[in-house]
Amino acid sequence: MRSFVPPLSRMLLWPSLIIALSFWLKGGGEVGGGFPAGALAGLAVLLQYVVTGREQTRRYVVVRYAAPLAGVGLLLVVGTAFLPVLAGYTPVSLFPRPGQPGMGAGAFHLHTALIFEGGLMLIVFGLVVTVIDRFALSTANQGDEGP
């Protein structure tokens, strides 16, 4: 008999990632932010690892390149924190400056805090997935060597 869990978990992946993205985008003014977004996306991937195994999960590009993604996130965070210094502002200055006209529509505004949070999301996601992948790899190896 086929279990309903694997198809269900696959169906859950994309909605979870979309909710994670929405967490990131609304983080500026409401509950959310980069950290919970990354953690949620990482948990969605963890579910895939548990249900379908390492091989199946690594078919997704984001999962294969999780560690470089964390590096990119790190560069985004450091960049938004310290690039304003080059222009003479204090670190972690917000652009567009408060009071200046911003870009965006409705409740959504584009500013450097969003990039910072996005970097944070990538770091958390990348680290969570890399750690899970390491564990999955070592348990898979132990399975091969086992009695």
């Binding site: 590096g71 560069l75 204090t90 972690v92």
Partner: protein, 455 residues
Amino acid sequence: MPLWGPLLLPWVMACVLAFMDGRRAWVAWLGIASLAASLVCTALLLPQAWSGHPPEFVTGDWPVGVGIRLRADPLSIVYTLVSTAVLLGTLVYEHVAGGITSRSFPSLVVFLGAGLTGVFFTSDAFNFYVFFELAMTAAFALASYGEKARNLRAAFTFVVVNLMGSTLFLTAVVMLYLTTGTLDMQSIVAWGQAGAPYALDVPGTLLLCAFGVKLGFFPFHFWAPAVYRDAGPTVAALLAGALANIGSYGLLRFGADVMPQVLERARPLLEILGASSILYGSVLALSRRDTREVLAYASITQAGLIIAALGLGGREGLAAAVALALAGSVDKTALFLAQDRGGERARRAYSVAAFSTAGVPPTAGFWSKAWLLRAALERGHTWLAGLVVLASILSLLALFRAYQREQWLREGAALHRGTGAVVFALSLALVATGLWPEPLLRAGRDAIAGLGVLP
């Protein structure tokens, strides 16, 4: 030098190093150069920090409370200098000792440096937690360095215990925010002076437990012997020499600076905890046969001395705590690195560091212990003074029993010129400070003088 210099440099370099293969020699040297450069940047901040108006900025030019304040007073600077120097020495040692075996090692050490610098410079309780977690994450990854079964076991113990510590710390920060309505340390000081004297007792107790786990004093020491025994010698030196500084710094910053009323009420408790750590660490160090375990218990004694100094209170006691923490950090690094090798050079370095740990002149450890003794006698705590002397004798016995055993065991694997230079530099620093203690004493006194409110 602007304040963001020593913060920016290790961050950027750690990010760059993360993309490179740390097993290559030039990448390791790049890591060493970044740590050396951030050491120089921090040293350039010295005159400003001592000028009465410590350098500070608020992120993004927001008003305080919205933006995060970063500030470098003398206490922050001396801790940053010593911790970065320890990291630098350890990274050089690991590289010249025969090559780094993991591609992420240099990057992680520089990340640890970035996290520690952030912890010491921040003036915001939650930002303290963020940098603290950055340093801890790097340390978690470092703890498994070597990737043998025993290293992984050490890493697992370390991660589980320290995650519990982090949870306690985060809970304390949340309670501070809910009680005082602010996370900025100086605003918390103002809130504490305004009234409600008992409101901060619970977060204060949680902070004591959280930093107790980091520093590893009795009864929060349980992880230390297992981790220091099973982690590699370099990693043990990093954890005991640099990372444990978060514990003593946190206690000084939150205790003496942010919540002096709570520290005042906690003094009897701190004295009891300090005295029991001193006794427990010294007696168990004597009973162990494995050198690393002896060192781990000696570090519990050291932590006990710091706590006892905090418990004494007053400027003299707190300044002694700073001196003990700084000298102890270099002692432990030198001991962990020297015990790994045999030969004449290693024996000499081990002896110097052991003398310093026990407080035999002319070493840095002697002056810090002498200061604690004087503070104890001035305050009429003769029993504590007796305990300090007893602990010194027991530490000396334990460390040299270990030395005797190791000396017969080790014939090969001597320190060569490179590793010898690192260990030699550390022991030279200890002796030089012993012969000319003025900088250490002044660092302790001025660091405490910069803390503002004290009885």
